[in-house]
């Protein structure tokens, strides 16, 4: 997300408590507002109408005053944590002045909702508050004709930037970079560099270093602000700058970018093209947003939620978002049900099998989930390489054998205690051990297969994994029982 945001730090609250208080007041005003609106709508006495309308306006004014004092990021947060109706009420109070910044700050789902709540004219008015850099970030969520209309009024330079930026795929450095940066020549003196900064109408945020280029725009190094302060103003940029720079190509994977920012504790970093020319700047705030999104994708994806889901999305929208993986789950369970059906005779002869079989399947699913979660974590940290797979397989086998023996013993005791049948106890213990070993391997395989097939290794992993471990668990337990008990 480009650099516009946060420049109005004056609105920042002095403490978390102050922010919470503001939010409470706004919620309170919203409540009153709704009560008044209901009165206005339900009451038909003209006199009443007038009184209420005055109260109405008074509430709106205090709401506006309160909102005006809040940092844009806080208003975005409030928008996200309100039900649709209240959300639009607030949005209408703020869109005129801060609509552009707010569209950048809110989550994708909320942005789409706000955009679709406005007509073309209102949307265009909000888009006019944004520069090319900001527009590139949200372009996907704007209807094509309105976006084109907005593009025509951009400067030629911004149009060029925007068209280039829109080419990069999501989750690449090119998509995340901004064109706001302070660039100096390698032949300048430090004093000239400082003067250049002074001459700028607006200094981009996270400007911890200036980027140094030669006369062809080829990146030569970086000049930390501290160096300017520490060295003599007459020294040349080329002498003082750091030449060994962590830099990125626009095609670099966003996850690699995030890892590099974490690893080398970067605040900003240059992006260069294949000829070494400086083309953009990455900043730590964008990287943090990206990390937060990745986290959300992992947590939600594992449970089988494809899209980011706004807490206040419509029920219909949410039902569809979750329905896909529920449906896959249902289909896979049809298969599992057929596996059990194969052993119908065994169950008819020994009903205890039906009572005990979910134990084996459930613990298998759990160990598979643990392994898959470790793989997903390791993959997002870039730790899972082909060379270490054999090691991982050995380790997961070892862990599941140990736990399989312990849990197998537990389930055998439980079974023997209930049914006083040593053979049944032995069968369920062996089934537990075998299922746990195979489930661990399934847990290793599922995220790898998902990634190899070009998907997010987390997405739907629990659903796919449970289908496999349930089938395994039921098949192994009922199969062993058929062979050894009947």
């Amino acid at each position: 997300m480009p650099g516009q945001i946060g420049k109005d730090d004056m609105h920042a609250p002095k403490s978390q408590q102050e922010l919470n208080e503001s939010i409470a007041v706004i919620r309170d005003l919203l409540e009153k507002q709704k009560v008044v609106e209901n009165l206005v709508h339900s009451n038909d006495s003209r006199h009443h109408d007038l009184v209420e309308s005055l109260v109405h306006r008074q509430h709106l004014t205090s709401l506006q005053t309160k909102l005006k004092r809040l940092h844009t990021a806080d208003v975005a947060d409030i928008l996200e944590s309100l039900p649709l109706e209240d959300r639009l009420l607030i949005w209408n109070q703020v869109k005129e002045k801060r609509g552009g910044e707010l569209l950048l700050e809110v989550s994708d789902a909320v942005r789409q909702q706000l955009v679709s709540s406005m007509d073309g004219e209102a949307l265009l008015a909000v888009l006019n508050q944004m520069d090319g850099d900001d527009l590139a970030y949200i372009a996907d969520d704007i209807p094509e004709p309105i976006l084109q209309q907005r593009l025509q009024s951009l400067t030629r330079e911004d149009q060029h930037w925007l068209r280039n930026a829109m080419v990069y795929e999501e989750d690449t450095a090119g998509y995340l970079m901004s064109n706001e940066m302070v660039v100096v020549r390698v032949t300048d003196t430090l004093q000239q560099a400082a003067e250049h900064m002074r001459s700028l109408s607006e200094i981009p945020i996270h400007n911890d270093k200036l980027f140094v280029v030669d006369r062809f725009g080829i990146l030569q190094g970086v000049l930390p602000l501290q160096s300017i302060l520490i060295h003599s103003p007459m020294a040349s940029v080329g002498e003082v700058m750091a030449r060994d720079v962590v830099k990125f190509s626009p095609d670099d994977d966003a996850n690699k970018v995030a890892q590099a920012f974490e690893r080398y504790d970067l605040v900003s970093a240059p992006v260069i093209n294949e000829r070494g020319k400086l083309i953009g700047r990455l900043t730590v705030d964008i990287v943090m947003d990206y990390l937060r999104e990745e986290n959300t994708e992992d947590v939600l994806g594992m449970a089988g939620l494809s899209g980011e889901e706004d807490t206040f999305a419509s029920i219909w929208h949410s039902a569809r978002n979750r329905g896909f993986w529920l449906f896959i789950n249902l289909l896979s369970m049809f298969f599992v049900s057929r596996v059990i059906d194969t052993f119908e005779d065994a169950i008819a002869q020994l009903v205890a099998l039906a009572t005990l079989m979910p134990i084996v399947a459930s613990v298998g699913g759990n160990i598979g989930n643990q392994t898959a979660a470790l793989m997903i974590r390791g993959m997002s940290l870039g730790q899972i390489t082909p060379e270490i797979l054999p090691h991982l397989i050995r380790k997961e086998l070892g862990v599941s054998v140990l736990n399989g023996i312990a849990l197998g013993l537990g389930v055998a005791l439980f079974t023997f205690f209930l049914y006083s049948d040593i053979h049944l106890a032995l069968v369920i213990a062996s089934a537990m051990l075998l299922t746990l070993i195979l489930s661990a391997l399934v847990g290793l395989a599922v995220p790898i297969v998902l990634e190899k097939s070009g998907r997010d290794p987390a997405l739907g992993s629990t659903v796919l994994l449970t289908a496999a471990t349930d089938s395994l668990g039921f098949f192994i337990f009922l199969g062993l029982a058929t062979v050894f008990l009947l």
Copy 2:
């Protein structure tokens, strides 16, 4: 994690590719090294011994050369992605010079392993490379007697800092803050402020602004480096500084700190005590580390993994780490098994019930997991407040009714197709709808109950939830079947 790290940016690789190449070379050297060591151990000819020992030493030298060129963060990464044996081999090459920095960079699990691989003297030598700030961060992982020995050789000031810092609980601002910061007086001129910076032997990283205090050490504002460059050197700090500052108290929750850093795009921020006195500094690198850890905790915790697990931890250690939740899972399934047992007669009369019952339970578990994942995400973003709970409950009920109808229809068709029994089909459809509705409520409740009881809302959520949804699914389906079919 305090500020020592990253000051040696000279080692930073020029690109991700270069880093990967270095890692490949190191892996290769490690392989050769192991082959040689095996030869040395297995071969008994004295002449051979000598030759091998030379080759051995040659490999070690190229390994050291290669390691020396790598950034500390990259060496830490390599340590984390190697099996134990190789890990210690590398560690022994680097601990003398960079052991202190490396201990800060590696994950908790790896740190504990490295610490326990050294005797007291070697450990003390590594600890001597660290200052009080760094020691506070890793104090929990160091054996008490050795830590005390190290403390005695600190300056009085650092000892004082360390004892204070160790008081703060994990996951608070006080625990994350560092004492490395550049402080200036409100009455200084900008020139004096710049001179003060110049006089420091080392400038802490992420020093985007200086902290301004009065003569009692009370925070008055912050002075961004840019302001020093932009304004006249004769201006006073008090005139130029920003007074409206995002600041923290040492007891602030780390999650709130992370949210504030994201929201207000901070690079560094002051921590003040209850009297307003400046006591420490928080930086964005620490916040990013914290976010990464939280992500790990969510992903692993949901699957039932209590501790951060090193990919290369010993099998024994991993088995215990995962065993706890597997055991809870087993116990809960004993209960589920007893629920099914209540309906033994029904199953004996109609074996199809055993075949179909896992379908209902599994889809219930899935919808519960989806809801729980959304709750966990919302809670970590601070969006779940008591006021919006009624709204959430209504929404989850709506979503599960819609999906319950769709999936109930699906399972009814499947059942009718297989068993041509309209009553059975109706029973399973109603069971599906009812189970999905209740499972969604369970999915809402589990993270809340975990948090209210002072635990991480993610930890073990899937295990607890599945126990509840399985019991519900089996009970509702078998119960309805008993009432309406038998």
